[in-house]
Amino acid sequence: MKRVVALMALLAASAGAAAEVNFITCPVYRDTDNGRKSGCWLGEDPASGIRYDITQSAAKPDWNFAVLVEGRVAASPDDPCGGAVLDPVRVSILLDQPCTRHMIPAEGFKGRKYVLPKRNIDPLSVVRAKPQPPFATRSFRLFFDWNSDFIAYQREDHSLDMAIAWIRGAPVRSLTVTGYAATTPFNVSGQAMAEEKGMGQIRADHVAEALYRLGIPKAKIVTRNGGDGGVIADALADDLPQASRRRVEIVAEVAE
């Protein structure tokens, strides 16, 4: 039955060109064992009753809290976990919404064998490529989970690593770090979701501190709160509209 529901979701996605799926739910952990990090995460959209496989999110759920799920149904018919696969997908833990933890057995599902994600950063021993002239003002973006300034592991740290490699190698005169937040409410699973107005500044300050730790003098960095910057199209946000609202933009101005 579950496989039928998953198939229905896939068909619906195909018909609708993989529309964005947003919902809030209590996550379920399926205890599949296909080696390290092979457990499955499932979440049911309360509106449709469809159980989705949300495991492909770089940041995984915590079984004690509800999650905000943002994703698209994957084109692949694979069903390793027992749910319609969302990929891309982002999961934000909602620490103010506790859940009853729930773990279910593998029930024949194999889960996924772990592979290093594409956005895995290199060790320090790997020399980064130096940027080549001519240099012009350039911007970089980091994206964040809901109500969070945490630079996500194997996702946003990779973006930061790319940015700092360029900034270190270019004649950068100043950095303007602008934080944005989803302060305009949007409705998800019957909840009007809005981030605090100060979250943009918190994100900007956090990224500025990260840049400082990476060797950029504080005097070169200016931070500002950009408020709600709205939706943008960016592959680094997996082209998920709502997720794209939660970002920091680093503008690196080069010396002439």
């Binding site: 457990g39 915590d62 773990m103 290199d122 060790p123 320090l124 630079i151 592991y153 690593d161 956090h206």
Partner: protein, 486 residues
């Protein structure tokens, strides 16, 4: 031969005997020469120490000379025979040998509390029974989001003139090994995934640091650590001089320590690469949790014993069985998966998920050392209820999170030692203790920062309970044998 001549000959023989079996205990100011290689027998074989660059006179050396009013030196709590840490067996031997007058038992931190009657054994029970040194931290720290109350104060060092009302908190911890430092200082990656930030910076130079020193991470560099230790454990009034700091740093960067001989032979025999020389020769900071990690030059964690996976029927049965057990233990360490849950630093806020399936090597991931390549502040529950074993001898604190609740414990937390939170002031860091080296274990029982595991089996049993791992008896024996060989 006259009686006098016999007496002189006997005296000479005794002197030779004494030279062959030097005292295990290094007292401050002895002036011995620290040899380039040194071994000490223990119940599991022999501990080996290697001092790269050759022997070193300790006369006048600040690591070995008494520097404060109590007559202590660094070596008091970092004994070569105890893998540069301090075993409870050594503590008990010193208590008996000196009737409690060794500088080790100084009132400031070698007793449960300075105000207790110092001549009584009971006043030093945490050191004598658990190998614990008192660590006094200033409280509160700037920017804290939590409050601390004392629930239980069996040592009487968290109330009265001590305790939070007086701006102090006393916790009790095992001395960490001062050896194999290049591994603890190594930086494998530029980022700390547990903090979602680049590595912390040395406040003096502005350069990134590993974040792997000290249980509560209060000192980011060796220099800051030794200044902290000089002012507290040695009770020095004056600062260490730059020359003294340089001398201590030089020694600490040259000294390597590991078990070199097991119960059935050398640990670098039969193709294995155990012992301290391998540590001295190898590149630190290699992520060994993944066997095919790009750019790795050292292989998976504990692959030093991979050659022992191949059976050697020519060996005596006991040695053959031990080697096979150690090799199996290395695999269990890397490959036995279990669900890790509710452990800050792993399950939050990194993004691995809560729970996450992985093995010991998930955190103990640095090849050859078993510490964390990333800054290793993790809450395994060893100091915090409900996961910690009952420890009625230790103080108990109630932490109240004033801002966001702790992601796993909620708003109120009971702990024997808030750990990293005493440095950051953050409720989310309560119970986090920096992972340490897994080397020289056989020489330095008991284990965990609070001495909760009295032997190697106790470590395995704790993890088995904490994470419902389901180790078989064979798994447990193999893991213990692996640790005997480290």
């Amino acid at each position: 031969m006259t009686l006098r001549a016999v007496a002189l000959a006997l005296g000479a023989l005794l002197a030779i005997g004494a030279a062959k079996a030097p005292e295990r205990w290094w007292s401050p100011g002895e002036g011995r020469v620290f040899p380039a290689q040194l071994t000490y027998p223990n119940a599991d074989g022999e501990l080996g120490l290697v001092l790269t660059g050759g022997a070193m006179p300790t006369r006048g050396h600040p690591f070995f000379e008494p520097l404060g009013p109590d007559g202590r030196a660094c070596v008091t709590c970092h004994q070569p025979a105890d893998s540069m840490s301090l075993s409870v067996a050594s503590v008990q031997e010193r208590w008996i040998a000196t009737k409690g007058r060794d500088p080790l038992f100084a009132a400031y931190d070698g007793s449960n509390c300075p105000g207790l009657p110092q001549g009584e054994r009971a006043s030093h029970s945490l050191l004598l029974d658990h190998g614990l040194i008192r660590v006094e931290r200033a409280w509160p720290v700037a920017g804290t989001d939590m409050s601390v109350e004392v629930v239980r104060d069996p040592t009487r060092c968290n109330s009265g003139e001590y305790g939070p009302e007086k701006g102090k908190i006393s916790v009790y911890r095992r001395p960490r090994p001062v050896a194999n430092m290049k591994y603890l200082l190594a930086m494998g990656f530029a980022y700390d995934p547990k903090a979602g930030m680049p590595l912390p910076l040395d406040p003096e130079t502005g350069q990134p640091v590993s974040g792997n020193l000290m249980a509560d991470g209060r000192a980011l560099t060796l220099k800051i650590q030794m200044e902290d230790a000089a002012a507290t454990h040695l009770r020095m009034v004056r600062h260490l001089t730059p020359q003294q700091i340089a001398q201590i740093t030089d020694f600490e960067m040259r000294i390597y320590s590991a078990q070199v001989k097991g119960p059935h032979g050398m640990l670098n025999a039969g193709g294995a690469k155990g012992g301290p020389q391998t540590l001295a020769d190898s590149i630190p900071g290699q992520l060994g949790s993944i066997s095919n990690q790009p750019n790795s030059v050292s292989g998976p964690v504990w692959s030093e014993f991979a050659a022992w996976e191949k059976d050697d029927p020519a060996l005596p049965e006991a040695e053959r069985a031990f080697r096979k057990s150690v090799a199996r233990g290395a695999r269990v360490f890397r490959e036995k998966m279990f669900l890790i849950s509710d452990s800050a630093g792993i399950n939050s806020p990194v993004g691995f998920g809560n729970p996450v399936r992985n093995s010991c090597v998930f955190c103990h991931n640095m090849t050859q050392m078993g510490n964390d390549v990333a800054p290793g502040q993790v809450d395994l529950g060893t100091t915090t209820l409900p996961f910690a074993d009952p420890q009625p001898d230790l103080p108990l604190f109630r932490i109240t999170c004033r801002g966001k609740p702790h992601p796993h414990y909620g708003r109120t937390i009971l702990t024997h030692d808030p750990g990293y939170a005493l440095t950051t002031g953050k409720c989310a860091d309560v119970g986090k203790i920096t992972l340490q080296s897994n080397r020289g274990l056989a020489a330095r029982a008991p284990y965990f920062s609070n001495g909760m595991a009295k032997d190697l089996r106790g470590i395995i049993d704790y993890y088995d309970r904490r994470y419902s791992i389901g180790y078989t008896e064979q798994d447990k024996q193999d893991l213990v044998n692996l640790m005997r060989a480290l």
